[in-house]
Amino acid sequence: MQKVFGRPQGLTDLPFHYCPGCTHGIVHRLVGEVLEELDIIGDTIGVAPVGCAGFSLDFFACDFVGAAHGRAQAVATGIKRALPDKIVFTYQGDGDIAAIGTAHAIHVAARGEKITTIMVNNAVFGMTGGQMAPTTIGGQVTTTSPYGRDCALVGAPIDLPKTVATLNGAVYVAACAVDTPKNILQAKKCIKKAFQVQQRGLGYALVSVLSTCPTNWGLSPVDCLKWLQENMMPVYEMGELKMTEEVKAL
């Protein structure tokens, strides 16, 4: 018998520190598989966020740098400009990229930096205890919106990929989810494309992945997937939101 599924070379052997059923782990695996398949493990530098993925630098087999909260794309910009032959990507939570890091998230795309961003949207500040984030869904109960997010008071959630897609420097923007095996495989295709865009130097690429946070949502890992489908997927525009002609030709 042959092994047909197992740990990709793009990950180290270290067990993830994430909570049981947290889909950060699935997104890590997809990135690890893509690094292996594109044969870029030795050429890649990742930038880790602040958030539950703050220690992700130990989980990937490529080089990694940790950034201050929300600053991953600024750090990645510097690395890519100094070392243009390297593949540089950021891995960021929704709070990191769409709250404290919003300015960078917009301007990195406006400048068309030739980097790749993986955004993991679990609709809360996971690491700090599940507070409301700019990505929290209307009505969603969090530790700081105990009666549910009141959009009349605090505004509707930010659909960051949709916003970034309006900027000329962003050449590939995709919004995926890891709720089913089919969508997980689709998310992997999008992540792979986002790295290929950078290999070809075409411009900025962003892949958002709707993800779960069983601990702070207060649901079982299996129920979280259903919650994501019923509550997040109707609110966020899904699919490959933007692809330039050059990207389509990849």
Partner: protein, 67 residues
């Protein structure tokens, strides 16, 4: 012939593989790993068709599939 292998020390007992398996091969077992998680087990191993769905949904790389 197909086989699923659970790497017990990686498993966190989340149950996602149990829900995803179309052949009901996997179950949460009654033995805990060193962290105290009750590890998933192939309760009905002969039914495995090696489809890979369990591995695809496992967030902790606790599953290997052989064919």
């Amino acid at each position: 012939m197909a086989k699923v292998v659970v790497l017990g020390e990686y498993c966190k007992s989340c149950g996602l593989c149990v829900a995803a398996c179309p052949r009901k091969v996997l179950a949460i077992g009654d033995k805990a790993n060193s962290k105290g998680y009750y590890v998933a087990v192939p309760a009905d191993p002969d039914k495995c068709i090696g489809c890979g769905l369990c591995g695809t949904v496992c967030p902790d790389l606790a599953l290997e599939i052989y064919k």
